[in-house]
Amino acid sequence: MRFYEYESKALFRRHGMPLGEGQVVNSSAEARAAAEAIGGPIVIKSQVLSGGRMKAGAVQFADTPDEAAAKYDFVLPIEVGGETARSVLIEAKSPVAHEYFVSVTWDGRRKLPVLLFSDMGGIDIEEVAETHPEHLSRTHFSTILPLSERIAKEAISSVGVSGGDLNRLVPIVYKLMQVFLQYDLTLAEINPVAKLEDGSFIVLDGHVDMEAEARGDHKKLLAELGIGDDETRLARPPTEFELEGARLNAVDHRGVAGNVVEFDGNLGLIIGAGGGSLTLFDAVRKHGGKPANYCEIGGNPSVGKACNLTKLILGKPGVEKIAVMMNVVSNTRVDIVARGVIKGCLEAGKDPSEVITIFRIPGAWEDEGFKILEKYGVEYCDRSVSMYEAAGRAVAKL
């Protein structure tokens, strides 16, 4: 879950990292007032989650409060990756002597956090990696040994930074590593850290991604930063349908019947599990089907949970029929899902045999499940019908 720049900076500030003067504003009048308070040249930055802000013209400079107000109006409607500004950050424009890049992320191969440092900051780091690899260091560090400044020192000095600059950079980089681990971040990046003409260092731009799984552990921080529980920070904001799916999933801890994503088709999908859903969604689309939603059931959800998900999907405008499909299941039980889905249809006032195009969940407790399906006249198939074929049969019924 990505943070806006101003949220990332608020986090950095709490940890004593050096930042310039700045203020988040939501009107041109506020922009003018902020510029007046700062007094001097300023930067006007659109607050968006997507990259490529500078290129899109959503970062502007101004010398006077009036100009800042005008630039606020200019920046506000600019789309960056299809996204417009949530608000605008007004900051003092600092006289920069040199720019550095520092980032902490996970390396899934080494299964360790990796600290990336470059003395060529401010530009695309992939480009530095390709054209000037000697200016980029990669330093893995332990998650069980005590975190220490030594690692920061090694990373910075290995691209040739020494003297006072090294000693001023170490605490900034060290703090970024601390923040990364403390808040279960998947990315903590500062690009650039700037050395100013007076020799001091400040964070000019930064961004942070928090692991979605860890949100519950950091509720206090998120509340203090003003990040709401409903903010998923994905490519688009969640729809009411998706939020309701998440609420239903959270009511009961037994298994998963969630990760609902809304689409505008006519075929409701009750599919699973993690890998099976990806496979089946591909298959439905390959057959020319129009999914009304994506979802995942797995981990043996309770009957009540499967029932609620079914009702949610059947209640979605435009949904004509549903398909219930999974890979051969091991821990999720065929009979439990069958009970839940049939109950959901009945509670929604629909005839399961009419509205369920196909039930293709073979595996654990299938004999028991098939008995239930037979009793309610629902069309089902066993593993001899592939996931791909089952998807085709569902699509053909619409």
């Binding site: 309770s302 009957v303 009540g304 039980r333 009970r339 109950k343 009945l346 028991e368 008995k371």
Partner: protein, 74 residues
């Protein structure tokens, strides 16, 4: 009232025995059993359909006193 798919029948003498009731509450992973204030057994109707057919309740009570009925088989 039975569930849509499952019903659980408990013989009267077992339901009145607080020790058996306690055991049934303990073994059921889906909370189909609860104890009344006097310690006797109560079947939680809204949880009946959650039954996972583990038979732990059947094994926990004296033989023949607890029966799990699959209503979809009738």
């Amino acid at each position: 009232m039975p569930g849509l798919f499952i019903d659980v029948k408990v013989a009267d003498e077992a339901a009145k025995d607080t020790e058996i009731a306690k055991k049934l509450v303990e073994v059921c992973a889906v909370d189909i059993f609860a104890q009344n204030d006097d310690g006797s057994l109560r079947v939680v109707e809204e949880n009946l359909d959650e039954c996972v057919l583990c038979d732990l309740c059947v094994d926990a009570a004296p033989k023949g006193t607890v029966e799990v009925v699959k209503l979809y088989e009738s």
